[in-house]
């Protein structure tokens, strides 16, 4: 089976986020009031071939732990959905 995967990487609480802080500071100047808690992370998307969703998830978790995130400073959230088999 083929799965679409999106890994959302965010900085752990307490880790400096200069991009988020800079965006937040700029908002009032643009007329956006009442926006707070801005955080900037990244989304990494890819496809995975696996037998089923649990095995896809376990592969992606391993990938996150060893490569896509640095667990000392980053958290990750994994979203997996199976790709509809169209004519294949």
């Amino acid at each position: 089976m083929t799965f679409d995967v999106v890994v959302h990487v965010s900085l752990r609480p307490g880790i400096a986020d200069p991009q988020g802080a800079t965006i937040e500071r700029a908002l009032p100047a643009l007329g956006f009031e009442g926006v707070s808690g801005v955080g900037v992370g990244k989304a990494i998307s890819f496809r995975v071939e696996a037998l089923d969703e649990p095995s896809a998830r376990s592969l992606v978790e391993d990938l996150c732990q060893r490569f896509l995130t640095n667990p000392v400073i980053e958290d990750s959230e994994i979203a997996i959905s199976s790709v509809a088999a169209t004519g294949a």
């Binding site: 880790i15 400096a16 200069p18 490569f67 640095n70 000392v72 980053e74």
Partner: protein
């Protein structure tokens, strides 16, 4: 004295020539070793030089750690050989798990390019053997992600085992406990954000980096 140094270069490394120059000015010899090599040759010491390995894509050091040459660096370190990571090289060594902690973005949202004063906190490391405990060295910094962080447990371990090698006198980047450099349990692997290779000649404003480089020659 006068030993041979392997200077590791990844695509995007830019401080390797300064390291070679500094080593040679102190009577040593140096070769640049590209990231796709699986051997360090007959090196007596290894420097992972600064720059932007693999464009700092994903995270500084994240991709570099999977380079073939890093297997050789890991083995060299396991055998007790001196390994020094400077700036981006420090980031590579933390990503590779050869040193604890991580380097996050500077507090204060600024890239820091300035002279820094560093206090020698231990002389029991491959980078500070030629130094004097408590001496203050002037060595430049040049980084955006140099804010050292680690878990409270790791910090307690580093302090308890006397593994904080250098501290900033005036913390420029928010590093926990003013840490500028740390060493491994075996004390042969050292990482630091400041650039000792850029403080090896009067013309550069300081010669204090010479004693650090000389420590592993």
């Amino acid at each position: 004295m006068a030993r041979h140094v392997a200077v590791v270069r990844f695509p995007g490394t830019n401080c390797e020539f300064d390291v070679v120059e500094a080593v040679e000015s102190l009577g040593g010899t140096a070769d640049i070793v590209f990231h796709d090599r699986d051997s360090l040759g007959d090196a007596d010491a290894v420097v992972v030089a600064g720059g932007f390995a693999h464009g700092d894509y994903l995270r500084p050091g994240a991709i570099a750690r999977f380079s073939p040459v890093m297997r050789a660096v890991r083995e060299f370190a396991a055998d007790g050989g001196p390994v020094v990571g400077i700036c981006n090289g420090f980031q590579v060594l933390t990503e590779a798990g050869l040193l604890p902690g991580a380097l996050q973005k500077n507090a204060g949202l600024r890239f820091r390019c300035q002279m820094a004063e560093l206090r020698v906190e231990t002389t029991d490391s491959s980078l500070t053997r030629s130094s004097t405990l408590g001496a203050v060295l002037r060595v430049p910094i040049n980084h955006f992600e140099g804010n050292y962080t680690c878990s409270p447990e790791t910090l307690a371990e580093l302090r308890g085992e006397d593994r904080v090698v250098l501290r900033y006198v005036d913390n420029p980047n928010g590093s926990v406990d003013d840490i500028a450099g740390v060493c491994s349990e075996e004390r042969n692997v050292v990482g630091l954000m400041p650039h000792p290779e850029r403080a090896c000649h009067e013309l550069l404003g300081s010669t204090d980096g010479r004693e650090l480089i000389a420590s592993f020659l």
